[in-house]
């Protein structure tokens, strides 16, 4: 399924100093689709996203976006090519106003009129942000900050969005609301999404295709429909979804826990 892939990773390895975080990851993301990466804490999901957006340079492997190699480019160039990142933990600019946070999302753009139009569009998706436009982002609730982080990423008018655990710390209702918008953006604008989620049930519901990552390696991939049917997935990701275990849990070990 790499024929119409907008993003391809081939044998990508990244490390933090001596710590290897991903070891030979290959995956591809078809244009217009939502692809999810599932994996336990510390599996390397965020590292994959950081490597794509140029925050970390891969030690080995190739990353191509729209047929062009992008590994080793700096984050600014990658944003300009059309990839934007909604980081884990939201990472808003706490003392800037909501409006200024959004404008920072458009930092790499110079088409002022289009930026203004996009601002209106994201305010349309999340009306609460318009109400709070003048307020400091640090004063928003966690859910509102997540909406801001997503909107800020939209402001660069991305072709591909990298979403790192958008449901982190949010109530189920708010999570539903945010995912509804994410799927709507995917449908209406054709924005491709690469989604990392703790909430596997939800991720498998909204995504079309999924990869399972274990200690830095892809161990399984399939359409989300089929992944949902698999026993391992049901047992380790879907069955555990409300246990909310955080910490060192690994694929193999978990079998013995049950």
């Amino acid at each position: 399924m790499s024929g119409d892939a907008i993003l391809t990773l081939a044998n990508v390895e990244s490390a933090y100093g001596p710590v290897k975080a991903i070891r030979g990851v290959s995956l591809s993301v078809p244009a217009g689709s939502i692809v999810t990466v599932l994996g336990a804490n510390g599996a390397g999901k965020s590292t994959i996203l950081r490597t794509i957006s140029g925050i970390i340079d891969p030690q080995k492997g190739f990353i191509s976006f729209e047929g062009q190699p992008i590994q080793g480019l700096d984050p600014g160039q990658i944003v300009r090519r059309g990839i934007s990142h909604v980081p884990e933990g939201r990472e808003v600019f706490p003392l800037l106003s909501v409006h200024d946070n959004l404008m920072m999302g458009a930092y790499t753009r110079s088409d002022r009129d289009a930026v203004a139009a996009d601002l209106e569009t994201v305010y349309g998706y999340f009306p609460i942000l318009r109400e709070r436009a003048r307020q400091e982002a640090g004063q928003l609730s966690g859910g509102q900050q997540q909406m801001l982080a997503i909107s800020r990423a939209l402001m660069s008018r991305p072709k591909l969005m990298l979403l790192d655990e958008p449901s982190l710390g949010l109530s189920p209702r708010l999570t539903q609301e945010i995912f509804a918008i994410v799927t709507r953006i995917n449908r209406e604008r054709g924005t491709t999404m690469l989604l990392v989620e703790q909430n596997a049930a939800l991720a498998l519901e909204v995504a079309h295709y999924g990869y399972v990552l274990e200690v830095g390696r892809i161990v399984m991939e399939d359409t989300c429909e089929r992944l949902r049917e698999k026993e391992d997935i049901q047992e380790f990701y879907l069955g555990m979804k409300d246990a909310g275990v955080r910490g060192e849990r690994r694929w193999k070990k978990k079998k013995t826990w049950r």
């Binding site: 925050i55 944003v79 990472e91 600019f93 920072m104 640090g138």
Partner: protein, 291 residues
């Protein structure tokens, strides 16, 4: 009247402290290291002004602008050539490097024959002029210091509050990682911050020159500007200016009303009091800063 006179000269001296403190704080906010060569940048700015007026024969204000520009360029180059290569080293190592840069700056100036080791007068168009306000007689050089400081602060406020680059500088100092994610060229902006800090220091240098003369050791005034930054709550730009004003005024008053010697320690006494009473400084932010 006496008191008012003292207040005015204290305020103008405080503006100088405040401007240098502003340089400390700007660089600290952007890079989380302290540039101890800030005083020397001011000194170099003053020498650049001296060079412009005395040796190139430029009018004062032209020399002023030229000196600020040259010093700003020096700041940008320092960041690019000296500090960027050692990025990621421990903070104390970087601070040591800036201290070393200060020594280098002073050393280079003293190598200039005749001028370098002298105290030089910088000619100004407003020498000996005074402003009379009611019964108050204020030296023009003090008025100029205060007026230019006010203008400069307004300019900086405008830049940081309203321009895209200024807002991006704020963003990068609040959450550097997120700034990278947005494609903000953090490193280039840090270079620009060094340029702005150096420019502000040069403004202070050229303004101070008519009051105290230009000499290689005038940068030691940085040792009093540093407390000003602490009083303001290291990390706050308005705090740096206000801290400078507080120290300037206290110094001026204690120089007159207290026995000799108190003037020189006034700045440190103010810091001690501040650290006991309000450890975060006047404008200290309680918000935790992210990486």
């Amino acid at each position: 009247m006496q008191l008012t006179q003292l207040l005015v000269s204290g305020l103008s001296q405080g503006c100088i402290y405040g401007l240098i403190a502003l340089g400390f704080v700007l660089i600290y906010k952007a890079t989380e290291t302290v540039n101890f060569a800030q005083g020397e940048l001011m000194m170099l700015g003053a020498f650049a002004g001296l060079f412009g007026t005395v040796y190139l024969g430029l009018p004062f204000w032209a020399a002023f602008v030229g000196a600020v520009g040259v010093t700003a360029l020096l700041g940008v180059l320092t960041e690019r050539l000296v500090l960027r290569p050692i990025l990621g080293q421990p903070a104390f190592a970087i601070v040591m490097v800036t201290l070393g840069l200060g020594y280098v700056g002073r050393g280079l100036i003293t190598m200039i024959p005749e001028v370098g080791t002298e105290t030089n007068a910088l000619p100004t168009p407003f020498k000996d002029e005074v402003v009379k306000l009611g019964g108050l007689v204020i030296g023009m050089e003090h008025v100029v210091v205060i007026a230019v400081t006010v203008l400069l602060c307004a300019l900086l406020y405008g830049v940081f509050r309203f321009t895209r680059t200024g807002i991006a500088m704020q963003a990068a100092s609040q959450n550097q990682l997120a700034a990278w994610y947005m494609g903000i060229p953090v490193q280039r902006l840090n270079g620009l911050i060094w340029g702005i800090s150096a420019a502000v220091a040069a403004v202070a240098g050229v303004l101070l020159a008519p009051i105290t003369f230009v000499h290689a050791n005038m940068g030691f005034i940085g040792l009093k500007a540093f407390p000003a930054a602490v009083v303001g709550g290291f990390g706050s730009l308005p705090g740096a200016i206000v801290g400078g004003l507080v120290i300037g005024v206290v110094e001026s008053l204690s120089g007159f009303y207290l026995p000799e010697g108190f003037k020189d320690v006034a700045a440190y006494v103010v810091v001690l009091v501040m650290l006991v009473v309000k450890p975060n400084g006047l404008f200290g932010e309680n918000l935790r800063k992210k990486v």
